[in-house]
Amino acid sequence: MSNPIIEIKNIGKKYNITHQRGGYVTLRETIMNVLKSPLSFLKAKTKEEFWALKDISLNIQKGEVIGIIGKNGSGKSTLLKILSQITPPTTGEITLRGKIRSLLEVGTGFHPELTGRENIFLNGAILGMTKKEVVKKFNEIVEFSGIDKFLDTPVKYYSSGMYVRLAFSVAAHMESDILIVDEVLAVGDAEFQKKCLGKMKEMSTEAGRTIILVSHNMTAIEQMCSRVVLLEKGRATKIGPTIEIVNEYLDKFLEFGDGEITLTKKPGVDISFSKISITNEKNVITNNINYKENFYINLELDVFKETKDVDLGIYFKNSLNTDLVFSCLSDKSNGQLKTFKPGRYNFKVEFSGGFLMQGIYSIKISVHNPGILTIDSRDDVISFSILPPSGRPASRGGAGCVSIPNRWI
C-alpha cells in the first residue's frame, strides 16, 4: 500500500490560559502589571497551560472519509484548524500528500456590498481556486446555486437561503485531493443539508477524494464516514468503524442528559411550565427509551391567573431540527379548549413504543390560546434517545425517523 495521504504524528496544541482571558488585553493593563510587580514580570510567568490537543496520531488513506466527533471543547475545531494551517501545532508533525482545501464555514470572505458574480470570484480565490478555474466552472457554479437571476445583485439583498446556496456552490466546485469540512451542515434548511451531504458523498465516491468531516450530526456521520475518531478532552480516545464509535459516543453523551428538568417562570406570564420529565414503562425517569417500549412525557404547569381557551402542545423534533410529531391537549376533548383556574396541574402523556426509530429527539412544549397568543413556550426543553431495536443491526442510518404501522400484503 502506498503512503497514507494524511499522516498525523503526535500532534499537540497548547494554549496559555492567560492569553485567553477577556479576548484581548490593553496596553495599559500590561504596563500596569509590569509596574506593579516588575520582578514577577521578568521571571517566567506562572501561566496556566492548557493542552487543547495532545498526542493525536492518525493515518488516513486516499479516498477515506473520516469523521471526527466529540463534545464541545473536546478539540475538534482545534484539530481542523491545525490541519487547515490556520494555527500551527505546538508539537508534532503532519504530512499531507495532496492538494488540501478546507471548508470551515460556507461563504468565507463574502462581502455584502459585492454582487453574486463578484463574490464567486472573490470567494473562489480565498478558497484557493485560480481565476482560470473559476471562469471554467462559473456556469456550473451558477447553475448549481440556482440564483442566476440575482447574479448582479449585491449579496446584502439576498435572502439567507440564497446566500448559503451560492456560498456552498462555490465551495462544492473546488478541486482538491483532501477536503476538510467543519459543521457546514449546521447551516441552512433540511433540504440544503441534504444537498450538501449528497454533494460530499459524490465527491468521495466518484472523485475518490479524502474527506475529514467534523459534525455533531450523527446521522450525517453515519451516512458519510467509514471511520470515526472520538475526541475527548483533546485526546483521541477511540478510532474505529463508524457504527461502533458513534454508538459508544451516544451512550456516553446521554449519560449527561437529564430525564427531568425543572423550569423557571418567565416574568409576567399567567401560566408557566415548571417541570418536565420523561419516564419509561416502569415509571423510572430516564431519557434512554427502548425502541418497543411505551414512554411518558410528564408536564407540570403552574397557573397564576384564571385563563380561558387554553391548549397545551408537545412537539417532537429530530436531530436535523425537523418537526416530526405534534400532540395537544385538545386532541383529548375533540378540540374543546380548557379554562384553567389558578393552581398546579400535572399532565401525563403516553406515547406508544415502536413508532419513533432509533435516534435522538428533542421536545418543544407550549401553552397557548390557539391562534391568538403563546403564553409560554420552551424550545428544545429536553431531549431523549430511542435505543436501537434489539435483533437488528445497531445502526439503521437512512431508515427514517418514524415507522407507521403497516402490513405487507
Binding site: 502506498s2 503512503n3 495521504i5 494554549y15 492569553h19 479576548g23 484581548y24 488585553v25 490593553t26 496596553l27 495599559r28 500590561t30 484548524k81 491545525i82 490541519l83 487547515s84 494551517q85 490556520i86 494555527t87 500551527p88 501545532p89 505546538t90 508539537t91 508534532g92 508533525e93 503532519i94 504530512t95 499531507l96 500528500r97 495532496g98 492538494k99 488540501i100 478546507s102 470551515l104 464555514e105 468565507t108 470572505g109 462581502h111 456590498e113 459585492l114 463578484e118 470570484f121 472573490l122 480565490a125 480565498i126 478558497l127 484557493g128 485560480t130 481565476k131 449585491p154 485531493d177
Partner: protein, 279 residues
Amino acid sequence: MEKTPEQTYVTIIRPKKLFSIRDITELWKYKELMYFFTWRDLKVRYKQTFIGIVWAIIQPFITMVVFSVFFGGLAKMPSDGVPYPIFVYVGLLFWQFFSSALGDTSNCLVANQSVITKVYFPRLILPISSVFTKLVDFAVATLMLVVLMFYYGYVPHISGLLILPLLLFITFMASVGLGLVLASINVKYRDVRYALPFFIQIMLFLTPVIYPASIAGKYSFILALNPMTGVIQNARAALLGTAPINWLLILISFIATFVIMIIGVYFFKKTERFFADIV
C-alpha cells in the same frame, strides 16, 4: 518527467519556525489572492460613495489649498523657490500615500478576522494588498499633479522621472514595514487604533511636507532618518528641479526602510503564530 499529484503537493505542518524561504515563494504562489483582496477593497470602498474614486484627488487637493493659504500665503513658508501649491502637493502626494497605507495596514488583520480564522493563506498578503489599494489612489491623485505642473509650467527631467519608481518603492516598503509592526500590535492591543491618527499627525510635522528640509538647518540629518524625508525631498528635486538629486539621502532612506522592513517582518512572523487564536 511527469509528476504524480502526490509529488506535486506535499505539505508538511510543523510547529512554526520564525522565517523560512518558503514564505517568499508562497507569497508568489498566492499573488492572485493578493490581487483579489486589493480589487475587493477598491470595489467596496467606492461602491457606496457618490463620487467614488474622485475622493482620491479631492483629499490631497483640498489639503493643498488649505496649506497654501495658511502656510504658503499667511505664514510665508519658504518653498525652495517653487510656487507653494505645487511644492506642497508633491509632498502631500507621497505623504498621503504613506499615511493612509499605514492606517489600512495596521487594521488589516483585525478587519479580515473572519477570513483569517477560517482559511489559510500567507498572512503577509493582507498588509501588502492594503498598500496596493492605496497605490491606486496615489496614481489617481497624480493626475492632479500633472494638471498643476502644466498650470505652473514645470517640465520634469527625464532622469527625474526615472527615479520616481525607486521613490515609490521606498514609500511602499516603508509603509508595509511599519504597517506590519502596527498590525501585529493591533491584534493584541487595540490601542493602535487610537494612537495612530495622533502619531500620523505628529509625523506630518517631522517630515518636510509643508516646509523644505533646509529649514531645519544643521539638524536636518535627524529628519533624514525618516525615510519619507528622502522620498519627498528627491521627488521635488526630480519633478520640480528644486535641487540636484541627493543620492546620499536616497541611500539613507533606503537603508532606513530596509531596517523597518526587517523589524516589521520579524514582528509579524512572531505574532503570526497566534493571530488566529487571539484576533
